[in-house]
């Protein structure tokens, strides 16, 4: 476990939770969206902004922004590239791979031997499979001798996609 998974403790309270529930489907598209949220919840706008800033500082909110639809933007191929690298090098190599602009998620995950020897996951996006394959080669070149094996799993179908949701309780 590292610092990413063990942050400074910050427990959201009931008001934070109200703000999350009010905005998890999206932010109002007005000049002062937090004012609109504050009005809806009967809170002071400055308090809402301060709480959102605190949640972002503690990485409860990663950022305020947009999730692009990959397909609509022409990124029709995604490959989950998986790599078998030495455990004592995975942190260093993971950072290098994660810095590549075409890599979205990059994680260390457990192996399940013998079926699954891979411990480093890097999601690679491209306009088509050829582009994804070329980008996987870039990663392979970066890992060189540290890589004992890799694979790319292309998605063939989205079977379910609902956002993560928390309830107001």
């Amino acid at each position: 476990m590292n610092a990413v998974l063990n942050p400074r403790p910050y427990r959201i309270d009931a008001i934070d939770r109200q703000i999350i529930v009010a905005t998890q489907a999206g932010l109002p598209l007005v000049a002062q969206p937090w004012d609109a949220v504050a009005e809806q919840l009967g809170l002071d706008p400055d308090e809402v902004v301060a709480r959102v800033a605190a949640m972002q500082a503690h990485d409860i909110i990663r950022r305020i922004g947009a999730v692009p639809n990959h397909y609509a933007l022409g990124y029709r191929a995604n490959g989950m590239s998986v790599w078998n690298v030495p455990d004592d090098m995975v942190a260093e190599l993971g950072k290098q791979v994660g810095d590549l602009e075409f890599v979205s998620h990059c994680y260390e995950r457990p192996r399940h031997l013998p079926l699954w020897p891979y411990n480093l996951f890097a999601m690679v996006h491209g306009h088509n499979r050829e582009e994804v394959a070329g980008r996987v080669k870039v990663i392979a070149g970066m890992l060189r001798g540290a890589c004992r094996g890799h694979d790319v799993l292309y998605s063939t179908r989205i079977l379910k996609k609902t956002g993560l949701r928390i309830n107001g309780g």
């Binding site: 998890q24 598209l29 305020i64 947009a66 990959h70 990059c106 996609k161």
Partner: protein, 147 residues
């Protein structure tokens, strides 16, 4: 999408400042009014160029459980198992992938202790072994797709 839309999509992937008037800076950089910024975001959402606009929450930091699971599902059983897995409200995303492990899904629970129960129930209901692959370390998250 015109050039302003493209610039806007790229800006929005970087994230907005947390303040009372979060669109002002983008409005200045793009040389359009705040009203046009919000109108264009609304249009991009309506056209499904953007799937979501707002705060991106970190599920684990909210105190719940989150993991990635994989299963090796016989082709003949794939539709049945898909229905059984998707029926769990804790299953957020589920993808078919080309591999012996051909079904990959994300499980998110509000209470961390519920995670083991859900994984056990999915294994029992489907008859497939569930390979649990929780993240042990995170190196980067946040896709940036230049358009």
């Amino acid at each position: 999408m015109d050039n302003i839309d493209r610039a806007l999509v790229n800006e929005l992937q970087d994230g907005l400042p947390v303040c009372r008037r979060p669109f002002d800076a983008i409005s200045t950089r793009l040389g359009i009014s705040v009203r046009e910024v919000t109108d264009r975001i609304g249009k991009l959402l309506g056209d499904q160029v953007l799937s979501r606009f707002g705060p991106m929450f970190n599920a684990e930091r909210l105190g719940g459980g989150l993991t990635l699971c994989a299963m090796q599902v016989p082709e003949a059983d794939f539709e049945r198992v898909t229905g059984q897995v998707n029926a769990f409200p804790e299953v957020a995303h589920n993808y078919a992938r080309e591999h012996d492990l051909n079904m990959w899904f994300v499980v998110a629970t509000e209470r961390p202790e519920r995670m083991a129960e859900v994984i056990g129930e999915i294994g029992t209901v489907t008859g497939c072994r569930v390979y649990d692959m929780p993240k042990m370390d995170e190196f980067y998250i946040g896709l940036k797709l230049p358009v």
